[in-house]
């Protein structure tokens, strides 16, 4: 399973790195507010409780530590 995951991720990395360039004037869809690649600000508290109630955290572009999270 781990090997498959690694192969998949490496394939994705190589694929992303070989993409063609999109011109600025062609980015009207990419610049749509719903297309933002970070979590929305309104997701902040959902991410917090998920960090508290689940063993996993991180890799979402957000906070990576600090605070107890023990209640």
């Amino acid at each position: 399973m781990e090997r498959i995951t690694c192969i998949l991720l490496i394939t994705i990395a190589l694929g992303l790195g070989s993409c063609s360039s999109v011109k600025e004037y062609e980015k009207q869809y990419i610049n749509d507010p719903e297309m933002v690649l970070n979590a929305k600000s309104s997701e902040r508290y959902e991410t917090n409780f998920q960090v508290y109630r689940e063993g996993a955290s991180g890799a979402n572009g957000g906070k990576t530590g600090g605070g107890c999270g023990c209640n």
Binding site: L9, P33, E54, A56, T64, C68
Partner: protein, 492 residues
Amino acid sequence: MGKHLLLFALLFTITAFAQGTDTIPATDSTEVVFKKRVLETTEVDILSSYYKQQGIHSAVGGGTGTEELTDATADIIIAIPLNDDNVLTVDAGFSAYTSASSGNINPFFGGNTGASRRYGNFRDDDDDDDDDDDDYGTPYGSPWVASTGASQKDVLTSISGTFSHSSDDRNIVWTANASGSIEYDYHSVGFGAGLAKLFNNKNTEVSVKANAYLDKWKPIYPTELHEYGLYGSDFLTNGYFNGVPVLDQYGEGSSSYLPTAFRPFTNSNRNSYSLSFGFSQVLTQKLQASIFLDVLLQEGLLSTPYQRVYFADRANYYIGKPQYIPVYTSAENKGVYKLADDVERLPGNRFKVPIGLRLNYYANDLHVVRTYYRYYTDDWGLRSHTASVELPVKLGQRFTVYPMYRFYTQKASDHFAPHDKHYSFEKYYTSDHDLSSFDSHQYGGGFSYTDIFQSFRILYFGLKSADIRFSHYERSDSLSSNIITIALKFVQ
């Protein structure tokens, strides 16, 4: 796996650089170059949420008991343009919670060390029957009833600041940040720095960020262990336990309870260090993706000092009403609390590696598809997969509705066992079900309003966007919760 992920991080960084940097024509020193401000005006975000949860596996109760919790939060985030290139962002907020579980650090109604409303001085008995369950000559408690102890509620206050500087060509962004938070038994100080570089006509972005959090506990222990730590082997005749009957499994009085495994923690620091890599790529005019890889190391006191553990190879002892001993692990138990053998003991360090992928697709002028996947692994043996999808549907130029679904599955930590299933010879143990094996499903949605003209104004600020979202969360071990969040963005 860790080596593979590090190789992956290097690989995607190299492939990004391989696309080459934009060639910036040399300019004459007298030439005037137009430079757009990074942030035109001050922006203010106001966020608030209300969270409510219930469950049956209280970690404070050693894996059994109510997990009722409510949490109300509010934050204000102010982004201030200092000049064309620099932005200062300040984020301040609080989180006020009430928790039945942490209230049971001292679960007993009565005694010298905790809530003393009932024991000895609560003898209403005015024959209106309002005290029938309370008129009992000894202290008692239950993992299924919230104590009114001081630890039942607390407020987390936090503040952070981030300074960012963008290069003249806007292809390099430096950031530096500092943060602090405080609650009754815990405080945290953090700082960090980051660098993001854009390539390929801003179609590619590579970022790296480092953070350190230096946290400190003020350890609070369950009452029975606190007393044992204070008075040693004589604790049954001193302090809280002086004159309090302790019961064995059969409800008979006993003086044999001795939690010899317990010793107070000598290190109350918890430090976290993280290195985060990010890579994002515009793939087509309607498709873009990003990958996040974090490498996190935690060290110090990673156990929560007030989470009880019960050993299967040790006899059980109780305080309270003996008739409830046979139904101890069910909500029928309204009057007896089992005395802990120890608090949870976890290793002094933890190495975590999460890797996440986002993929967003602009299907058409009405629909956008937002997806996310994460794989997580750590050296406590915990593995997890997370997948989520959000489907924004545009209702005209100003309104959007978005249903969402998130699936999460987790394999338990090596150190987890349920209530009363650990053994005293183990080195590490916890009955915190947040580290158990489970699946979870989260359903929800939201409604957002965007007005680029900011026609609704308050003082000097116009409302640019408003977002309200709700979600319901269900875990396969019976924990469930609901959360509602409101986010408002104002611009000057």
